[in-house]
Symmetry: C2
Subunit: 461 residues, 2 copies
């Protein structure tokens, strides 16, 4: 191990959730006398909640800085040499060093490392079409994106917003714009919104969004953004029609930002994310770890790698990587694919496999869909929810759950997430001792109602 | 098997949740041509939600009948001969018959059975003290109790209520009386309310209840109920003082109603509840099953029998028993001790073992207590919650979780309930893939924050 002045040198690429969680945890375990930590971030902000941007835009969060968990100064006060506005341009794996450029001065230099953490995150998918860069077209991945959108909204008189994409970001931005009093149209490539659900559950989201006054356009690919005489956005065009727009929000998702890692010969998977071992060490590389939106993770249900860019995973990865580079031991066993979202009072949740995921990996299954309520039917505020459950044929093993409902629906997916992690069968689930009282649940929790019905269906085959 | 006219004869004692769930499930599996079902209920109501009574009294539920899941007529329409107002006075195990008395006419007769289901429920604990039967002193176990209390409230001018007992029923009745505009005093034998929690967590409930304007009197045993000149309740006395009361509500809990079963020589455990096998067959008796508040169940964490009178278990037991007597196969593996309750906007939840439970069964453990929030800290409506976690020494196995908080706190206990069922360690829990989005959770769910801290504590020993 190449030690510098007796101290080990840790270099972190990326100053957001994953990288800075790793740096902070490593610092907790090893003081500055033992470990020197240098982190490079090309942007202006560190450790912020990108997931919070829709709520900032929508007005639920008043100030940008509320989304910042820890500022560069706070990191530096903890003994992490965080260099903002500095982009790493090359990883020299053989030489164990990274080359970084100060974006303001253009100055470049090499920094050697004993251990390297890659937390380069994701880059937004931008449609390759005319007008995509017109004023008034905005992504919402970064705080700068959010500020630019807010600036546009402040100076635009029209109140028509078109959201491109109907995944989590799309529906959250639809809510944000509804909250700001806009007329909202969501243009969606898929047959139903929320393609992370099966289409039959997506249909419920579709109906509920229309109930909220959102215009849903499904099976529609945006072909261009039309601009007005002054160059600003005027409408969005698909093959079938035009949708007037004073602002266009792109919520089409992200891809792993791994160009730097790939140029250095590090292994990436089918989704373009870095491949790591269970300790989150880049495969085949003793001294390089990766964390957050730039990695692929094992889906414990499908047995295959998956790309799940989510802040909660980035933080967990960072914790695991920081523990390991700090001399401790931790692993990230994988995910089961849990996600929860809301659009106004509609809650949408999923975990495990959709039908098409299960088919793709060779699983045969039964599906059941049930209607229940969030509280005892007689208790005030009880609201309906739909639960869909997939169970493996013959074994009855739980494969996935999808929930669409109102208050109290979304976080019920956690029951299934833990059951999936524990490889439970739907029969085992029927005996789960879940919290019951009339204000919290019917006497049979909706997840158990689904499990009971799934047991009957599995047993009937 | 003694068959009558080719049909097997099932007799059910008790027409509430457990007994009628069993009867209904047996009927679903076997039609009237195969199975004759006779059920005896001494009261006036069938299949009702006793857990809903506090909300009916408090005014959240407008009508008594909303608490009735299925009326006697509905059961009869499904081919169950449900005899209301009929009390079983003897079980003749050797002769395979039960003796029942029609309470109106006094007529008695024997009914033979091939299979017997005992669902005799619980009886309320009534303090043995002067004045306990005075007008204005009410239990809240049955619909008749609830109606009697409502009648008292309708004709009483005073607005001072004393609730005796600070368990689930006590705190729920405190809420009910607050909702009706009463001044509420809760007199509690324990050192803190909610003795199903450790005292340090009970203290949080105590503080919150006082914040709601409820007067909490702890470490106090009610010695008598004082009556006024017209015989009605005037005050409640403890060794230390008197508490004026226009109405007194007894919420001291229940015991298994097993006198009939004990007289027939059936086995009961240390808590007085019937002992069954995993199929919920009474131990040592091929043809007798038991379900609901009259049985003891295995606590999967402590490995010992426990008495847990809860509607959700009664329904599950009934489902298991009905499946088995109907010719199918099902088991009730046990409970982990989950319970959730609320008093106004305070949510209280627990699962697994308290410190004293763990000590009693020989477990050594670490405890951690953390503060977190129900949503991302920056998201509107994020409310604080306290999570306490017990993990076994050395192994790190999860032993129990207690949660006190506001909206969104209570049902989080389900995460721990499933993890307990799956025998997870706190280290395994830190990797749980729980639903995350700012309106639903901080980036680390509060249960995972506790798990992380528990891991650190287990590892440091």
């Amino acid at each position: 191990m190449d030690m510098s002045g007796g101290r080990e040198r840790l270099v972190v690429i990326g100053g957001d959730a994953a990288g800075m969680s790793a740096a902070s945890q490593a610092r907790r375990l090893r003081g500055p006398d033992k470990l020197e930590i240098t982190a490079f971030e090309r942007g202006r902000f560190s450790s912020y909640s990108a997931c919070g941007i829709p709520y900032w835009v929508g007005g639920d969060v008043a100030e940008r800085d509320e989304l910042i968990a820890r500022s560069p100064e706070e990191h530096r006060a903890r003994g992490i040499d965080l260099r903002m506005g500095t982009e790493v341009t090359r990883i020299d794996v053989a030489g164990k060093r990274v080359r970084a450029r100060d974006l303001a001065s253009g100055a470049e230099s090499w920094t050697p490392y004993d251990k390297l953490v890659i937390g380069t995150g994701a880059r937004p998918i931008r449609p390759d079409m005319p007008g995509a860069d017109a004023p008034g077209v905005h992504g919402v991945q970064t705080l700068d994106d959010g500020q630019a959108l807010l600036d546009t909204l402040a100076r635009t008189r029209g109140r028509r917003a078109v959201v491109v994409g109907a995944g989590y970001i799309g529906v959250e931005m639809a809510e944000a714009m509804i909250n700001r009093g806009y007329e909202v149209t969501v243009v969606n490539r898929g047959s139903e919104p929320m393609s992370t659900l099966d289409p039959d559950m997506g249909r419920l989201v579709h109906a509920a969004m229309e109930g909220l006054g959102i215009t849903m356009v499904n099976d529609a690919e945006v072909t261009k953004v039309l601009t007005g005489p002054e160059g600003g956005v005027r409408a969005v065009a698909t093959e079938d029609g035009e949708y007037p727009a004073d602002v266009v929000i792109l919520g089409i998702g992200v891809r792993p930002e791994t160009s730097l890692a790939q140029a250095a010969g590090l292994p990436v998977g089918a989704h373009g994310g870095l491949l790591t071992d269970l300790a989150m060490r880049v495969r085949g590389h003793e001294d390089i770890w990766a964390a957050g939106d730039c990695v692929e993770v094992l889906n414990l249900v499908s047995g295959q790698e998956q790309y799940v860019p989510l802040g909660t995973h980035a933080n967990k990865h960072g914790q695991v990587v920081g523990t390991n580079v700090g001399g401790g031991y931790a692993t990230f066993p994988g995910v089961v694919g849990t996600a929860v979202s809301k659009v106004c009072d509609l809650e949408i949740a999923r975990t495990g496999l959709r039908e098409k995921d299960a088919l793709r990996v060779g699983l045969r299954f039964e599906t059941v869909t049930i209607e229940s309520t969030s509280r005892a039917g007689y208790y005030p505020g009880a609201s309906g929810m739909t639960v869909k459950m997939l169970a493996e044929r013959r074994t009855g093993r739980l494969l996935g759950v999808q929930i669409v409902g109102r208050e109290g629906a979304g976080k019920r997916v956690d029951i299934a997430a833990v059951a999936l992690t524990a490889n439970m069968t739907v029969e085992q689930m029927t005996a789960l001792d879940l919290g019951y009282a009339p204000p919290f649940s019917p006497v049979w929790d909706p997840v158990l109602v689904a499990a009971r019905k799934a047991v009957a269906k599995v047993n009937s085959r």
